[in-house]
């Protein structure tokens, strides 16, 4: 129990065998042990949401979970959104709608939105629920409007999601 614990993490369907102290955060292990540096750490207090990843399909703060808690769970990071290195439809939409400037919060927003909208696309139809979702994370560049437009561009009534289907990947 004491000291380092061997854990098999499944990240983006790839197994990573790591040996970690229990106190190491999922976010740190993803970045430092798995070399998946797309996930960013901002506040490390669960406030900013830059570190949002999907665990068993749900968006969570990877700074408020320990890596040892994630054995046997399905972890997905921004690197694993598409299989072939292509941009996900929502990433393309964020670019098209000026939904980023410095880009530090972007990976967290992408995981937050893709996780929630894949599970329940009707969030895009309800401005209040969409506000509530986007308020989960902090963006200090865009004022959120570009990010909101990007959500609607993909998941809204006339969104691209139905056309090319890539948002379902």
């Amino acid at each position: 129990m004491t000291g380092r614990i061997p854990v098999r993490l499944t990240v983006n369907e790839t197994p990573y065998d790591v040996t970690v102290e229990p106190r190491r955060l999922l976010a740190d292990v993803l970045r430092e042990d798995c070399d998946l540096t797309g996930t960013k750490l901002g506040c490390e207090h669960g406030v900013c949401g830059s570190c949002t990843v999907l665990v068993d399909g749900e968006g969570v703060r990877s700074c408020l979970m320990f890596a040892v808690q994630c054995a046997g769970r399905d972890i997905r990071t921004v690197e694993g959104l598409t299989a072939d290195g292509e941009l996900h439809a929502f990433q393309e939409a964020i670019s098209a709608e000026h939904g980023l400037q410095c880009g530090f919060c972007t990976a967290g927003f992408v995981m937050l939105v893709v996780g929630a909208l894949q599970e329940d696309p009707t969030i895009a139809e309800d401005p209040e629920r969409l506000d509530g979702l986007l308020a989960s994370n902090l963006c200090r560049c865009t004022g959120y409007e570009g990010i909101r437009r990007a959500v609607l561009r993909v998941y809204g009534k006339d969104g691209t999601r139905q056309e090319n289907g890539t948002a379902e990947d």
Partner: protein, 311 residues
Amino acid sequence: MKPAPFDYTAPAELSDAVTALAERPETARVLAGGQSLVLEMHYRRERPALLVDINNVRELDTITADGDALRVGALARHRAFETPTVAPGALGRLLSRVSPLIAHPPVRARGTMAGSLAWANPVSEWCATAVALDAGIELTGPAGSRLVGAGEFFLGPFRTARQPDEILTSVRLPLLPGAETGTVGVGFCEQHRTHASFAQVAVVAVLTLRDGVIVEARLGLAGAADRPVRAHEAERHLVGREPEPDVFAQAAALAAAGADPLSEPHAGVEYRRHVIGVLVRRALVQAREDSESADFFSGAGRDGHDGWEAR
């Protein structure tokens, strides 16, 4: 990485979790959702020597109607309560009004109702709800399980009747039947500075109406004292009266006058007292409107099953 080093165990059996906690009760902490505990470990205000992770104890991941109560296991996450079908009738409507105001979606995906009660933040929405409903809180330790009423459970900010060797294993929320006693209406209001901030004040209101008269009133307040409290004087004022604006205003004034809020930089005593009055009135109006719609859809609202059985 900010937390101080600790040992970690994540048993699959509740009995093993109880044993692990009992071996080092003074220095061990129970990890459920971790959305408050892990943050405090970052600050190193919490430095447990051992974390007993209960997330693998499947029997705690349940929400079941058990007789006249909803039994909420220790692993039921906040987000499970976002839809009214989580519980029959008025209880489901109340829980689904409270849940969306707790933090934001990623925190609601991890944090648990039972964990909120064990943590006992004086402005916690679930703590006010538990007190308003007289919830039963099940604590399991080496000597077995015991049930503590929410009214006796909270002792002060972040202090509860839970002993260090006990795990809070379930919360029993009484179902709110209407058919025999009358029509039940529920309301919930809170004041917070920004979207996902902690509440400064939160108010839970439950009214039972019969023949246009209030026969039972429950008001649970967060941010009105050093722990969640009932507004007993206001409740007594409501019973036997009609749900009219002036009655609600008098009850709100009584709740505000009876409050003993803590002062904080963004919510001083006078401000909090004022907000309590405003929110009690609004929550009561909500509860009256809710009872009217429950009455209107009487087939669904009155027998207390709307959507519950179909689930």
